[in-house]
């Protein structure tokens, strides 16, 4: 029951590979870019870092592994994503889902199981430390002695 307006995502030829309406593929698809399937695919689809969209004319009998999967057509097979599965109105999915997030619009048909996997926490790298030159170490100001004016001050302090 998503409240987002129903829109058919248009394939972007610049950033997504496309399987057109009249195309039928039997076998394995591996891609390192987004994939839009509006034809028939039988086998497996894998695009672990990217988004796979099954268009309204798409008929897929395949397991799908991707970062994100959007279904507007028909899929028979298991779907595994690291991010999100989005099943739109009038879509049909028969298979098991493993994902972090799921969205199912009213009117979608789903039959299978949903297993939610919490996303793995990202490893944060510490910010890079400033590089300190060995030849010119940063002088550390020493305590100022009131009894001996000038004595104990580092060069840097004097130059300031």
């Amino acid at each position: 029951m998503s409240s987002t307006p129903y829109r058919t995502p248009e394939p972007d030829s610049r950033s997504a590979a496309t399987v057109g309406k009249s195309v039928r593929i039997v076998g394995q698809i591996f891609t390192k870019e987004d994939l839009y399937v509006d034809g028939d695919v039988e086998g497996t689809i894998e695009s672990m870092e990217n988004k796979v969209t099954i268009g309204p004319n798409g008929r897929v009998q395949a397991s799908i592994r991707a970062r994100e999967v959007i279904i507007l057509g028909q899929v028979q097979g298991n779907v595994e994503t690291s991010d999100k599965v989005d099943i739109r109105k009038d879509a049909k999915l028969v298979g098991d889902i493993t994902t972090s997030r799921i969205s199912i619009e009213d009117g979608a048909l789903f039959k299978g199981s949903i297993d939610i996997k919490k996303p793995e926490p990202k490893v944060t790298t510490p910010p890079p430390q400033p590089i300190v030159s060995r030849s010119a170490p940063t002088p550390v100001p020493e305590p100022y002695s009131a009894t001996t004016p000038g004595a104990g001050l580092s060069t840097a302090a004097i130059n300031r």
């Binding site: 029951m1 998503s2 409240s3 987002t4 307006p5 129903y6 099943i87 109105k89 799921i102 969205s103 199912i104 619009e105 009213d106 009117g107 979608a108 048909l109 789903f110 039959k111 299978g112 199981s113 949903i114 297993d115 939610i116």
Partner: protein, 239 residues
């Protein structure tokens, strides 16, 4: 009196509704009819949603409280609300639309529901789970549209795929005659509130009285009934 009698028909300990105060709150629960705002998935002509409390649902979640990682089958179809609710409780969700699958398997002819090969096909399509897989089953009103032959076969199959001590929730019309009854979609609002949206009228498979239901679930450990103001029996069954 009838309500009290029905409420008292159970065999399980730990009933949360056994004291008078809770019984009074049950009687005071008045269903509210609210209009669901039109959304992208809302079909034209659908009736308004009815929000009401469900003692059966409350009992169901009471029984599986404090446990995570259960396998729960929701037969209301693909419902974002139900899936979100069950996932937030930490459970694995199995989903299917059993009423729609009835249509696909048997078509509009009620006689088809007596065909053994079709019944077998239906069970394989909808309950092909390994034995003792499910910890909870939300059947909603789907069972009441099955013919006696199909109903008995389905309940027998459910007994196989449910784990011991697992629970199922089912709704049956409490009318004394077999007639057409509304079919609803069910959305879980919270652990004791459901939102019903009518999705058509269907012939009930048979008359469902207490005796019939106890006989139907004879293989199960316990059966508990709640009678609602909508003349509906909410039934909690323990495997």
């Amino acid at each position: 009196m009838l309500t009290e009698k029905l409420l008292s028909i159970f065999r399980k300990d730990g009933d949360p509704f056994s004291n008078n105060a809770q019984l009074a709150s049950l009687r005071a629960a008045v269903p509210t009819r609210s209009v669901t705002p039109a959304g992208p998935g809302r079909k034209p002509g659908r009736k308004d949603a009815l929000t009401r409390q469900s003692r059966g649902l409350e009992q169901f979640f009471f029984n599986i409280r404090d446990v995570v990682g259960l396998s729960v089958l929701d037969c209301a179809g693909a419902s974002q609300d139900n899936i979100d609710f069950l996932i937030n409780l930490g459970h694995k969700v199995y989903a299917q639309d059993l009423v729609q699958n009835l249509d696909e398997a048997f078509g509009p002819d009620p006689e088809a529901q007596t065909n053994p090969s079709r019944i077998d096909y239906f069970l394989k399509q909808n309950f092909a789970y390994p034995p003792e897989t499910l910890d909870g089953v939300l059947l909603w009103d789907s069972l009441q549209f099955m013919s006696p032959a199909l109903l008995n076969a389905t309940v027998d199959r459910l007994a196989e795929v449910m784990r011991p001590k697992a629970y199922l929730l089912a709704f049956f019309t409490a009318t004394e005659r077999v007639r057409d009854v509304p079919s609803n979609s069910f959305r879980i609002a919270d652990n004791k509130t459901i939102v019903l949206t009518e999705r058509g009228i269907r012939p009930a498979g048979q008359v469902f009285n207490n005796r019939n239901l106890e006989k139907l679930f004879g293989k199960f450990e316990s059966v508990k009934f709640f009678l609602t103001r909508e003349n509906l029996r909410e039934v909690i069954v323990r495997r």
